[in-house]
Amino acid sequence: MIILDSVTKKFGAFTAVDNVSYTIKKGEFFALLGPNGAGKTTIVRMLLDFIKPSSGSITINGQPASDPASRNYVGYIAEQHMIPPYLSGFEFLSRHASLIGLSGKDAEKEVYRVLEIVAMKGPERKKSATYSRGMKQRIGLGAALLGKPTVLILDEPITGLDPIGIRDVRKILENLSGKGVTVILNSHLLSEVEKTCETAAIIYKGKILIKDNITAIVKDHETLEDVFIRYIEHENE
């Protein structure tokens, strides 16, 4: 379970996240929607303790986000996942496996398990400098899936992926459904969010405008995109 309690983040005079509170239940597939600069990535960075909230608190599985132990079972993929160019995909994943406590044969087995899932078996021994952006995203997703995480934080995971890649990611997420994995998905592709997530929150100028089940948010003859635009335009009026 993830709990954000009155979380505010200020960068100087600018308030990126303004008194945000919400709870994401265990096993929930939650989408964080908002235009560029709305505060989505800031929230993700606070969840991972990359930045500290100015006020409020965040807990992941009962532990404060500031405690590195809260990331024991958290998988994360960034919008533009970076892999050190001198490492191969295999080496990169092996480092992740080692950092989550796997070693030797267990680590290798786990790395090959996720390489299979993200369809990167084959070029896994090539240096990541030779990978396309989509391949890097796949390896990044593989790193997030290592060690069977209980929380997945996916910040624009399908950026740079081709339609087949997007479908693969959707399938991977569908496979995680019902297995108790909590997923936080930041995405601009609202049609994909509609297909994969159960709940969504729309964030704008650092404030949560609505958080509910997608089925409750989307009314008849509407799409999530229509709802999203309606809310943003309403705020701009």
Partner: protein, 269 residues
């Protein structure tokens, strides 16, 4: 395995992927091959044959300090880009998105670079030690101990460059650290010269009046080098002020590491 040890091992591997390490290794090998001839016998000065062991001993001391000075440059180059490179190539996120504390990350990166440079320097000193032994049959006792003592200097340089690189451009942080070393070299070098047997016998009054407080408290990189020299020579070592250079540098290293952690903890990733 502890996260610090894991990151330390990754750091050593990562550093060894840089071409500059191999360029410096190549230059060091060439340097050692070039000075090998100095240990051959047959020196004659003013018609008198000079003891080969004596020449070898003096040459080895000069080479000892030359290697240490070269290592200062090398570790500065290796350290200055650690954090900026990690930020741009994704290593920082790789470690910190996992259950790795920031202090573990910093300690792992610093000690990894130190361990690599320590091994590098020790191997170079060991090569000289073995060369002297094989060529002249002389064992310079204390030579390898002195090498290990000097490695504290390397740790100081690494910590200093890494710390400064958190809020300075990479090159400037290395440059700044070199500046600290040069000031210490002038200050402590002067002290060593004044306290040398030759000067003391020639000008006894030169020992009067203690050094200024800042000189006593200044990081004693050069003094530690002089201490290592004294270990090799098995000679008297004159410390400046009440603190031994080992204590002085240990304090500075601890202080810099704590400051670095403090700054890094507040840093946004």
């Amino acid at each position: 395995m502890n996260n610090v040890i894991k990151i330390m091992i990754y750091t050593m591997r990562d550093q060894m992927r840089h071409k500059s390490v191999y360029v410096l290794l190549g230059l060091s090998i060439i340097f050692i091959l070039m000075i090998r001839g100095c240990y051959d016998s047959g020196y004659t000065v003013n018609g008198k044959t000079v003891d080969t062991a004596m020449v070898a001993w003096h040459v080895s001391k000069i080479v000892f300090h030359t290697i240490a000075a070269g290592m200062f440059l090398m570790v500065s180059m290796l350290s200055m880009k650690i954090f900026s490179r990690d930020r741009t190539d994704g290593n920082e996120v790789l470690f910190l998105a996992r259950s790795v504390s920031r202090w573990q990350y910093i300690l792992g990166r610093v000690t990894g670079t130190w361990a690599l440079s320590l091994i590098f320097m020790f191997l170079l000193h060991l090569t000289i030690f073995v060369t002297v032994w094989v060529k002249t049959g002389t064992i310079i006792s204390g030579y390898l101990t002195a090498s290990l003592v000097c490695s504290i200097n390397l740790l100081f340089v690494i910590a200093c460059v890494c710390f400064l690189s958190l809020f300075m451009p990479d090159f400037i942080s290395a440059f700044f650290t070199m500046g600290i070393l040069i000031v210490g070299f002038i200050s402590d070098g002067g002290h060593q010269i004044i306290n040398s047997d030759i000067v003391r016998s020639a000008i006894p009054a030169s020992t009067n009046g203690g050094p200024a407080l800042w000189r006593i408290l200044y990081p004693k990189v050069f003094m530690l080098q002089a201490y290592a020299d004294a270990i090799i020579s098995d000679s008297e070592f004159h410390i400046m002020g009440p603190f031994h250079p080992l204590l002085n540098l240990s304090f500075y290293i601890l202080l810099i590491m704590l400051l670095m952690l403090g700054f890094y903890n507040r840093k946004e990733i």
